[in-house]
């Protein structure tokens, strides 16, 4: 059958009109259907509710009311873990750091919020997700999820591919572009004072907060929590224990997690 130009145009018009009525692929993407299906496929639509799962609650207002506390937490963390300071924001290594509220909670801010809340500095760190995307991305299993809920790293196995950095939605991972034991142009070492109890890293590996596993093994609290706990600004404990302090606080107070819609199920909670 020979199609006339006129017939073709008519047919195309009818097809376009029919297409507009139905659900388009774009709409189902926006509605989160694809995301939900993806999470289900990964078996991650539910969080682990049994066994030990370590978590942390950060009281944002408490930190704002005690000047210098957040800086002290960062300082103690970075000094005991030999985190280098390369003096250049592009190469920055951070385990625990401060960021503005509206940048930490991108999806939870809107332009009618109190400006002072949006400017509030918030402590951020690895969220030790229950469903960590970094672990799935790592080709060498250098990063892994432990039974106690900590997302840990084995620097021996890291090949520096930085897939985990691309996978982490929280920017919690940093790459060593330079040798942390080196010196800058002025001869200033990148690590001011090394803690010989804890190893450094080398150039070419990724690093991040380890929830102080080396301290937990000695029945100590993570270093930042130890600094902030006397003020009640940080609460650390087992999220799956109904009677733990962190469970109680999370039940009683309003808390948010970073980018909950992604389905990573962070173990770090923010009390607003």
């Amino acid at each position: 059958m020979k199609k006339e130009r006129r017939d073709f145009l008519k047919l195309a018009g009818v097809a376009a009109a029919a297409g507009m009525g139905g659900t388009s692929a774009v709409q189902s993407l926006l509605g989160g259907e694809v995301q939900a299906a993806g999470l289900k496929r990964l078996g991650a639509e539910k969080e682990h509710k049994e066994g030990l799962r370590l978590g942390l609650a950060i009281d944002v207002r408490k930190f704002a009311s005690i000047p210098g506390l957040a800086e002290r937490c960062v300082e103690v963390c970075h000094s005991i873990h030999n985190v280098p300071d390369f003096g250049n924001p592009k190469d920055e290594i951070k385990w625990l750091w401060q960021e503005r509220f509206d940048r930490v909670f991108v999806k939870d801010t809107h332009d009618r919020q109190a400006p002072e809340l949006q400017k509030l500095p918030v402590l951020t760190l690895c969220n030790h997700c229950d469903n960590p995307p970094c672990v799935r991305a790592c080709p060498t299993k250098a990063t892994f999820k432990k039974d106690d809920g900590v997302v840990a790293m084995d620097y021996h196995r890291c090949i520096g591919c930085r897939f985990c950095m691309a996978a982490c939605p929280y920017g919690a991972r940093s790459f060593n572009w330079r040798d942390p034991r080196g010196k800058d142009e002025q001869g200033q070492p990148f690590i001011d004072e090394v803690n010989t109890e804890y190893p450094t890293r080398t150039a070419g590996v990724v690093e991040k907060c380890n929830f102080c596993v080396e301290r937990l093994a000695e029945d100590k609290l993570p270093a930042c929590v130890e600094e902030a706990a006397p003020y009640g600004a940080m609460i650390f404990g087992n999220l799956n224990d109904h009677n733990s302090e962190i469970s109680r606080v999370l039940r009683e107070r309003y808390s948010i997690r970073r980018r909950a819609a992604l389905g990573t199920h962070p173990s770090v909670f923010y009390l607003i």
Partner: protein, 127 residues
């Protein structure tokens, strides 16, 4: 054989050059490595032969067990001595001179493990 006047002397020179390392060292005695053992202890975490051959396997087992499975950070020797399952805090607690212990064999066997790019060797002040 075609061109044997050239090929045979060239072969002799070639074989001579290739085996240079062997005949150059004939008659010389190589100093075998002699790692200095700690005086205050007379047993290690495993027997000497195992440690000599497979200490790196043991270190890897300790690492994987502790890091990934939250395994115990200490162990007990056959005679009941408690030790840290750690290179820095365990091995080097007894074998406190890296140069006289580790390097002795590593240099002899020409291996260069990169432990010390991250871990710290015990310093003289710390002892």
């Amino acid at each position: 054989m075609y061109g044997s006047q050239r090929i045979i002397p060239a072969l002799i020179v070639f074989v001579g050059l290739m085996t240079f390392a062997i005949w150059y060292n004939i008659g010389q005695t190589q100093q075998p490595p002699d790692p200095e053992l700690p005086t205050e202890y007379d047993e290690c975490v495993r027997d000497t032969q195992f440690m000599r051959e497979s200490h790196m396997v043991l270190l890897h087992q300790w690492r994987d067990d502790i890091l990934r499975k939250s395994g115990p950070r200490t162990g007990v020797t056959a005679n009941g001595l408690r030790y840290d399952r750690s290179l820095q805090k365990g091995c080097l607690d007894c074998h406190d001179d890296k140069e006289k212990f580790c390097d002795e064999c590593h240099n002899y066997a020409s291996v260069a493990p990169d432990c010390w790019r991250c871990h710290f060797e015990p310093t003289k002040e710390a002892l």
